[in-house]
């Protein structure tokens, strides 16, 4: 809402009251009156930074919720949360985003483990291919654990945040990488035992 003007329920005019960002130097688009500048450029720039960090988090979270209106990210000092609190969450997010998601990968029978960065893969298919490459010297054959195909000698499993061993492939990729602590390529017999239990 601009710094004046009665609320107009007319949907057409909703656009007029929409907060917009513009690059410095461009006209602030569609402002109802020219006599009320939306605030100093500094406010816009600050809002821009906020918007970037907000839209990152919006991007990460919005899959489950309705897309939150982006307009709200553009307002300086809104929502009114103490900077201390805001900073502590942003710092944590930055920490999580900057660090790669390196997890150990062990394979039954192999003499040493490997480490991979889960963040570089787009999905399970890529992961499986990468694991095949990593361990091909140990003559893996086909890796299962994805679509539940039988007959293969190995199953890919992972340890989640709660310490339980899960079969890779059940949950959405995003959820998987946020809870995976390490991977283990389980050999035939053990793997079959895992799959056959109800």
């Amino acid at each position: 809402m601009e710094g004046e003007a009665t609320y107009v329920s007319d949907l057409d005019n909703l656009k007029a009251t929409e907060l917009r960002l513009g690059l410095p130097g461009t006209d602030a688009p569609e402002k109802p009156t020219p006599a009320s500048p939306r605030g100093s450029k500094r406010a816009l720039l600050a809002a821009d930074e906020e918007c970037q960090s907000k839209s990152k988090s919006l991007g990460a979270d919005s899959s489950g919720q309705e897309a939150a209106p982006v307009a709200k990210a553009q307002v300086v000092g809104w929502p009114p949360i103490r900077s201390y609190r805001k900073n502590s969450f942003q710092a944590r997010k930055a920490e999580e985003e900057a660090a790669g998601l390196f997890v150990k990968v062990s394979m039954d029978g192999a003499p040493y483990l490997r480490k991979i960065d889960l963040k570089v893969y787009e999905g399970y298919k890529e992961l499986r291919k990468a694991l095949e490459n990593l361990f091909k010297c140990f003559s893996l054959g086909e890796l299962s654990g994805m679509e539940g195909c039988n007959g293969s000698e190995y199953a890919i499993t992972y340890e989640d945040k709660d310490g339980d061993w899960m079969l890779v492939g059940d949950v959405p990729w995003e959820m998987f990488i946020s809870s995976c602590k390490r991977l283990r390529i389980m050999s035939g017999s053990e793997a079959r035992g895992m799959r056959s239990s109800p």
């Binding site: 710094g3 000092g77 929502p79 009114p80 609190r85 969450f89 709660d162 310490g163 946020s178």
Partner: protein, 575 residues
């Protein structure tokens, strides 16, 4: 009454607990003024620029406890430029010179340098209590000075300050002879601490009751500390990250069981849900619980925890508790008095959010609720009316609908009626924050009904000057009024200039007031400081001498007997 000997009058004054009452009796006659000022032990300065520190010292030479507040409240949300002011040093210097018996200092939203802390540490031999809230400008070196020199320190309470980390050695500066600590809160420090020094400090302070650790303190350390200080009443847990199957976890749970006095818990910075059962043994005694920094605790785990907290009076959570979680709070926590629900961007995909439903549930389940801070995605008039009926005892009601200017989603109406119901029903309401779509009507209601209202926060609300005028004309007890992004202009500002001398301060930003309006106000009211804050930016739109018609972006007005301040930066013009 002046026939009473002064000792008797002084003794009578001892029964007056509030500052306001003492202020009042001091105005009765000269004799009472004298008795009151010499016997005054505690002074509260709500605005550090309202009076000069030297004057406070001269008038009240026997002060033991001083509280001072600096920046305007909206500074919390980055609306006040960084170097606006609010320096602690002049206060510490004045008291060091004139009142060396000072024992307690509480500062909020002030700039505190290491130099000030050093001066503080060296100047007051009896210094016992230091509380810093939302302050900045100091580092752990300043804390080291406090630890080193304050021999009888009882409380060091750092709440949500921005502190520069210069290493963990500050904690080791508490001498071995220091055994007097009752309360230590360093939760806001970002750096490491020396675990051994911390454990030894706790072990030698038998009276320690409040201990809030920072994120760097490991669970192992926490465990040892609990073992040494099972009489703790208030605990901030540190990171609380651990493997729930490990030895450490079981030890921790054991040690928690021994803490029979524990009433308040906070921290849980990195806690994962599997570790929560460690605190189950003490949940039923908890009166305060702060999980607002623990985004990983949600859903079923959070609910499980809450179901154990039957005696809870104060609860701070993130909105990923969801309406369902709040319903559980409502059915479990019948003693609840204060609830804060903060927004989180970090809860992850598909997590719940809170709406009016959650709050309605709380209001019907928790009749003792009197203080609320609630960030939500939507609110309806019907809900607010119900809440007002269920909970007539609100003293603080702060509602923040995240989308500015959002109407009632069911009726598409403004929320005037809803907030109107709140102010009409809650006769003791002292603090109110508004949000959502609001017209002048809500201010009419506030002016009419909110007789006890002392602090009002307005954002993106109102249609015209009338809105602000209703408030200024109606709320007799208004002390702090802060307004942003609302269409109030010079006419409203100048409607009743005398009113501002009855208030502590007025903040207006992104409204429609002009330089001429501000200048007029300043000219009419010499005992107000009218500050216009002009942040300059690269293009320098603001010329050196802007016209009077120029819209003022930020204005801060406050009553003062100290005159214009001498430490204002260039971008602050005191008119």
């Amino acid at each position: 009454m002046t026939y009473f000997p002064e000792e008797v009058v002084e003794h009578i004054f001892d029964f007056l607990e509030s500052h306001r009452h003492r202020n009042t009796v001091s105005t009765v006659c000269k004799a009472w003024y004298r008795v009151e000022r010499l016997s005054r032990r505690s002074v509260f300065v709500g605005n550090c620029y309202a009076v000069r520190p030297e004057r406070v010292v001269v008038r009240f030479p026997g002060v033991r406890s001083l509280s001072v507040k600096g920046k305007p409240h909206f500074a919390d949300f980055n609306l006040v430029p960084h170097d606006w002011g609010g320096f602690a040093l002049p206060w510490i210097e004045a008291f060091a010179r004139g009142c060396p018996g000072l024992e307690e200092l509480r500062l909020k939203r002030m700039v505190v340098s290491d130099e000030s802390l050093e001066l503080l540490a060296r100047s007051f031999p009896n210094f016992k209590v230091l509380v810093l809230v939302s302050c900045e400008g100091f580092s752990t070196d300043g804390l080291a000075a406090i630890a080193t020199h304050c021999r009888v320190l009882r409380e060091l309470d750092l709440q949500e300050n921005e502190v520069e980390d210069r290493g963990p050695q500050w904690l080791s500066c508490f001498p071995d002879s220091c055994t007097s600590l009752v309360s230590l809160n360093f939760a806001c420090l970002k750096g490491d601490v020396n675990a051994g020094a911390l454990e030894r400090l706790v072990a030698r302070c038998p009276n320690i009751r409040t201990l809030r650790l920072n994120r760097a303190v490991s669970v192992d350390s926490l465990s040892k500390i609990l073992a040494r200080a099972p009489h703790l009443v208030d605990l901030g847990t540190g990171s609380f990250t651990m493997d729930h199957r490990a030895e450490a976890y079981h030890r921790l749970m054991n040690n928690f069981t021994k803490c029979k006095s524990l009433k308040s818990l906070s921290g849980f910075w990195d806690a994962s849900p599997r570790c929560l059962p460690a605190v189950y043994p003490i949940c039923r005694n908890l009166t305060g619980l702060n999980l607002s920094y623990a985004p990983a605790i949600q859903g079923a785990d959070l609910i499980k925890l809450i179901r154990l907290c039957l005696k809870l009076q104060r609860l701070w959570v993130l909105d990923c508790i969801g309406d369902k979680g709040l319903a559980v709070v409502a059915s479990t926590c019948k003693e609840l008095q204060e609830l804060r629900v903060f927004p989180s961007d970090v809860c992850g995909a598909g997590t719940a959010v809170v709406t009016e439903e959650g709050l309605v549930a709380i209001s019907s389940g928790c009749p003792k609720l009197n203080s609320l801070l609630y960030f939500c995605h939507q609110m309806t008039n019907a809900a607010l009316i119900t809440i007002a009926k269920n909970c007539p005892h609100f003293t603080r009601f702060r509602l923040c609908i995240l989308d500015p200017g959002k109407p009632d989603p069911v009726t598409n109406q403004p929320l005037d009626e809803g907030f109107g119901a709140i102010v009409q029903s809650c006769k003791d309401l002292r603090r109110l924050s508004l949000s959502g779509l609001l017209t002048d009507q809500v201010f009419l209601y506030i002016g009419m009904y909110a007789e006890c209202l002392e602090m009002l926060s307005i954002a993106f609300a109102g249609d015209s000057d009338k809105g602000m005028m209703y408030v200024l004309n109606g709320c007799k007890n208004m002390r702090k009024l802060e307004i942003r992004d609302s269409p109030f202009g010079d006419a409203a500002l100048l409607e009743d200039v005398g009113k501002y001398e009855t208030m502590r301060s007025l903040w207006m930003s992104s409204c429609d007031i002009t330089l001429r309006g501000c200048k007029t106000l300043a000219a009419k009211m010499p005992r107000l400081n009218v500050e216009v804050i002009n942040e300059r930016d690269e293009s320098d739109e603001m010329e050196e001498n802007p016209s009077d018609l120029h819209r003022v972006e930020k204005m801060y007005v406050y009553r003062t007997v100290a005159g214009p301040r001498n430490d204002a930066p260039d971008f602050v013009w005191t008119l």
